[in-house]
């Protein structure tokens, strides 16, 4: 199965990269950008066909490694 785990910074956590990109977009003249926050996606191929089990494994992966839950949130999507 193919899955995507998206990890984003919790609101309130400073995001220097997002800030810099925001500034750069403004100076490139991209219109109307009010704020940018940067996150990560992980596209994962995972064996097995049981969606619930896969979801559990991915949750495990995110908790153990993919996200630092002190500062980050994550979301899991499974695309069959």
């Amino acid at each position: 199965m193919k899955a995507r785990v998206t990890v984003t910074l919790k609101s309130g956590i400073l995001d220097p990269q997002g800030k810099a990109i925001e500034g750069a977009l403004k100076s490139l003249g991209v219109d109307g950008v009010a704020s940018v926050r940067q996150g990560k996606v992980f596209d994962i191929e995972i064996s097995g066909s049981d969606k619930a089990k896969t979801e559990a494994a991915l949750k495990d992966a995110a908790d153990k490694l993919l996200a630092n839950t002190v500062i980050e949130n994550y979301a899991i999507e499974i695309n069959g």
């Binding site: 309130g12 956590i13 400073l14 220097p16 990269q17 810099a20 153990k64 490694l65 993919l66 630092n68 002190v70 500062i71």
Partner: protein, 233 residues
């Protein structure tokens, strides 16, 4: 002082660290491979050195923090054992939960290698015994992600409990935005754990222990550790 220097794939300042430890203590440090599950018997000090463990891919220190040896380090620290993490080591200690907070990308979004000044905030700890409180020392930094961040409450606690041991400052000790090399919260360069036995810091004292580097301000940290352990023994 029997030290154990952890070696994760991608770590690259382990030799610098081992050399500094040897100079300070006269003893060779044990190099401990990440896949081990125990520390050498009689270890007094565990050092997590600098480098790019696992390429610093994902987040700095994240993958190393989950290596087998880290369980042994957690147990060692829980018993009050001394743990020193420098640069990538600091990042690993944060990721492994031994220290609070995270190290984000430098505010300028660039890797930065240069000598900086840091102020020693207190001298009554194992990691600062070799200095005077308020002393300003010069040591190099070399990192892309050294911007310390934690939530408001954690920062308050760190300050309240006197757990910020090193702070970026100017040559004459002024702590301000200008001397804050990477944008760290409250100019934090190094913090200790609640019990005071785990230190994480971004600058590299191990690179300023010999005359040839033009400065030996890093010696105090190692000499202090040796003195601390001798007193404890």
């Amino acid at each position: 002082m029997k030290s154990a220097v952890l070696v994760f794939p991608g770590i690259n300042r382990e030799r610098d660290m081992a050399r500094a430890l040897k100079l300070a203590s006269g003893q060779e440090a044990a190099m401990v491979w990440h896949a081990e599950t125990a520390l050498p018997d009689g270890t007094d000090l565990v050092v997590v050195p600098g480098g790019f463990s696992y390429g610093d891919y994902l987040r700095c220190g994240a993958i190393a923090a989950r290596a087998p040896i880290m369980d042994a380090v957690r147990a060692f620290a829980a018993k009050g054992g001394l743990v020193l993490g420098v640069c990538n080591g600091f990042q690993i200690l944060c990721e492994s939960g031994l220290l609070p907070g995270v190290l984000m990308r430098n505010a300028q979004l660039k890797f930065i290698c240069r000598d900086v000044h840091i102020r020693v905030e207190r001298s009554d700890t194992a990691f600062t015994r070799g200095y005077n409180a308020g002393q300003i020392i010069r040591v190099p930094v070399a990192h892309g992600e050294g911007n310390y961040e934690a939530d408001e409450e954690t920062l308050k606690r760190l300050e309240g409990e006197g757990r910020v041991l090193y702070r970026y400052c100017s040559a004459d000790g002024v702590v301000d935005e200008h001397s804050n090399i990477n944008g760290a919260a409250q100019s934090i360069a190094g913090i200790v754990s609640e019990r005071g036995n785990v230190l994480g810091m971004m600058p590299h004292p191990e690179n300023h222990v010999e005359d040839i580097m033009g400065c030996t301000d890093g010696r105090g940290l190692f000499a202090g550790l040796v003195a601390h352990l001798e007193r404890a023994a």
